[in-house]
C-alpha cells in the first residue's frame, strides 16, 4: 500500500497522484464542513433558547430572536451544510468512477435534458451556437453580424468608476462645507479631499473622452451573405462605416483567435492570442458622404484548411471579421464581428466499412 504524498503536482482539476486518496481527502473536507455547520447551528439554537440577560437563574420560555434575526443567524450554518452536503454527495456519486465514466455520465444527463442528438450547433459537438449571430437580417445581404467591441465595456467601466468615485467626493465635500459653515476648519479632511477631487475630475475626463471617441467616429456595420461559414467557400461581405471625418485607412480582415482560461492560485485568468490573419480588403483616404456612410461590398473566402470554430468550458478557437480604421484626427479603433466556421465533412466519410459490418 502506498501512502499519500502531501505535496503533489496539481493544476486545475488535474491530479497526478492517487485518485482514491484525492477523493477521500475531498470527501473529508466536505464532511468537516457539514460537521461545522451542525455544531455551529446547534450552538446558536441552544444559546438562543436559554438566553436570559435579566435573570440568568430563571428558565426562558420565549426565544430571544425575531424571525428575521433567526434567518440572519442561521445563514452561516445553513450555508456550511448546503456547501458541505452538496460536495459530499458529489464525492459519493463519483467515487471509484474514472474520468471518462464521469464525463460520459454527465453528457448522458445533458442529452436527456436537451432531448436532442447532441450539444453544440445542430449536432456538432464543441461548436458554438449560431443563434445570436443569425437573429438580425441585413439591409442588403442576408445577415447583419453583431458587434463585439471591448470599447463598449471600457466605456461602461469608466462611467461606473467616475460615478462611484465622485459620489465619495461629494460626501467628503459636504463634510468639509458643513465644517466651514460651522466656523471650524478640519485641515486633515481638506487635505484628503484634494487628491480625491483630482482623481474624480480625471475619471470624468476619461469617461467623456471615451464617449467622444466612441460616438464621433460613427457606427460600423458588417453584413454577410450566409452563415455559418464553411472552409473553401466564398461569401459576400458588406461594410458600412459612418462618420463625418476623413479616414486615413480602413482595413477589413479575418482573424482566428485562441482563448485559454486557466487558474493561477486563486485567480482565474484568460489569455487571448491571434494565430492567423487573412486580409480581405483595404481602403485609403476614405471620406464618407456627409450625412451618409462609407459602403463597400467585397468577396470573402474562408481558407480551405481553416480550423473550425471551437468552444469548450475553458478553451476556444474563434473566427471573427475585424475592421481596423484610422480616423484623421482620432486614435485608431478596432471593431470585431464574430462568425462561426464549421468543419468540412469528407465525401463518403460516414459509409460503414466492411470490417465494421463483419463485427456485427
Amino acid at each position: 500500500m502506498r501512502l499519500p504524498r502531501f505535496f503533489t503536482k496539481k493544476r486545475g482539476h488535474r491530479r497526478t497522484d492517487s485518485q482514491a486518496w484525492g477523493s477521500f481527502a475531498e470527501g473529508l473536507f466536505y464532511a468537516l464542513l457539514v460537521g461545522a455547520g451542525v455544531v455551529f447551528g446547534l450552538l446558536l439554537v441552544t444559546g438562543a433558547v436559554t438566553y436570559a440577560p435579566a435573570d440568568p437563574d430563571s428558565v426562558v420560555l420565549q426565544r430571544g430572536y425575531e424571525w428575521w434575526m433567526w434567518l440572519l443567524t442561521l445563514l452561516m450554518p445553513v450555508a456550511l451544510l448546503a456547501f458541505g452536503g452538496s460536495g459530499l454527495v458529489r464525492v459519493v456519486r463519483t467515487w471509484g468512477k474514472s474520468q471518462e465514466h464521469r464525463a460520459a455520465a454527465s453528457r448522458a444527463v445533458i442529452l436527456d435534458g436537451l432531448a436532442g442528438p447532441s450539444a453544440g450547433a445542430a449536432g456538432r459537438p464543441a461548436i458554438p451556437s449560431c443563434d445570436n449571430l443569425e437573429n438580425s437580417p441585413g439591409i442588403v445581404l442576408r445577415y447583419r453580424l453583431p458587434l463585439e467591441s471591448p470599447e463598449n465595456w471600457s466605456l461602461v467601466g469608466f462611467g461606473l468608476f467616475a460615478l462611484l468615485w465622485n459620489a465619495v467626493v461629494v460626501v467628503l465635500a459636504v463634510g468639509v462645507g458643513a465644517d466651514l459653515i460651522g466656523g471650524t476648519t478640519d485641515w486633515l479632511l481638506i487635505g484628503l479631499l484634494v487628491p480625491f477631487v483630482v482623481v474624480g475630475v480625471g475619471g470624468v475626463a476619461l469617461f467623456v473622452r471615451s464617449v467622444v471617441l466612441s460616438t464621433s467616429v460613427g457606427p460600423t456595420h458588417v453584413e454577410i451573405s450566409d452563415h455559418p461559414l464553411v472552409p473553401g467557400r466564398r461569401y459576400d461581405v458588406r461594410l458600412g462605416q459612418g462618420g463625418a471625418h476623413l479616414f486615413r485607412s480602413i482595413d477589413l480582415g479575418l482573424e482566428l483567435e485562441e482563448t485559454a482560461t486557466f487558474r493561477q492560485g486563486t485567480d482565474t485568468r484568460t489569455q487571448r492570442i491571434v494565430v492567423r490573419r487573412v486580409p480581405v480588403s483595404g481602403w485609403q483616404r476614405v471620406q464618407p458622404v456627409p450625412g451618409g456612410i462609407f459602403e463597400a461590398r467585397v468577396p470573402l473566402t474562408i481558407p480551405a484548411d481553416a480550423m473550425h470554430s471551437f468552444s469548450s468550458e475553458n478553451n476556444a478557437v474563434q473566427w471573427r471579421i475585424v475592421v481596423r480604421a484610422q480616423p484623421d484626427r482620432w486614435p485608431e479603433f478596432v471593431r470585431v464581428f464574430p462568425v462561426v466556421v464549421l468543419p468540412v465533412m469528407a465525401a463518403g466519410a460516414g459509409a460503414v466499412p466492411e470490417s465494421v459490418e463483419a463485427m456485427g
Binding site: M1, R2, R11, G12, H13, R14, S18, Q19, A20, W21, S98, Q99, E100, H101, A103, A104, R107, G120, G123, R124, P125, A126, I127, L256, E258, T259, A260, T261, F262, R263, Q271, I273, V274, V275, R276, R277, D305, A306, M307, H308, F310, S312, E313, N314, N315, A316, V317, L342, P343, V344, M345, A346, A349, G350, A351, V352, P353, S355, V356, M359
Partner: protein, 147 residues
C-alpha cells in the same frame, strides 16, 4: 508519442508489487488519421495480467484539450464491462468500432490544442487500475503558428 500508460489506485508503482499489464491497440488505419464522420476500428490485446482477476474494463473514445488553459474533455464513445460474462468477452483481447462525430477536429494551436484518443482502462479486484491511451488524428487542419 502515440500511446501512453498510467496507473491509479493504491497498489501500484514500487518494484515488487504487481506488475503493470501491457495494453496494445492497433487502429484500422495504419496512419491513425481519420476524417470526421468516418468509422474507427480498433483491435487490442492485454498482456501481463499474471492471473490477476480484472474487475472491469472501460473502452472510450474522447477528445481533450491541451495547452495553457484548463483541460476540457468530451467523451464520444464509452463502454464499461463489469460482469463476469462480459469481461471474459473483452479481456484479454477484443475489437470494437465507432463512428466519429463531425467535430471537433484535431488541432495543434499555439495555446489551445485538441487531441483525440482511445482509452482502455482496466480495474482489478485489488483496487488498482491501469489506463492506456492511444492518440489518433481527426481531420487535416495544419498547425497554427503566430502571424
Amino acid at each position: 508519442m502515440n500511446a501512453a500508460d498510467s496507473h491509479g489506485g493504491s497498489a501500484h508503482g514500487p518494484a515488487g508489487s504487481a506488475p503493470f499489464p501491457r495494453m496494445e491497440l492497433r487502429f484500422g488505419h495504419p496512419g491513425r488519421r481519420y476524417e470526421p464522420g468516418e468509422w474507427v476500428t480498433a483491435e487490442y490485446t492485454i498482456d501481463g495480467l499474471n492471473g490477476e482477476r480484472p474487475r472491469a474494463l472501460e473502452r472510450s473514445a474522447l477528445w481533450y484539450t491541451e495547452g495553457k488553459g484548463e483541460e476540457d474533455l468530451g467523451v464520444h464513445f464509452f463502454e464499461r464491462f463489469s460482469t463476469l460474462e462480459t469481461i471474459d468477452r473483452v479481456v484479454p483481447e477484443g475489437t470494437f468500432a465507432l463512428q466519429l462525430p463531425p467535430s471537433p477536429l484535431s488541432y495543434e494551436g499555439v495555446i489551445v490544442k485538441i487531441r483525440w484518443c482511445i482509452r482502455l482502462r482496466i480495474f482489478f479486484e485489488s483496487g488498482r487500475d491501469h489506463v492506456s491511451e492511444h492518440v489518433f488524428t481527426v481531420g487535416r487542419v495544419p498547425p497554427s503558428i503566430l502571424p
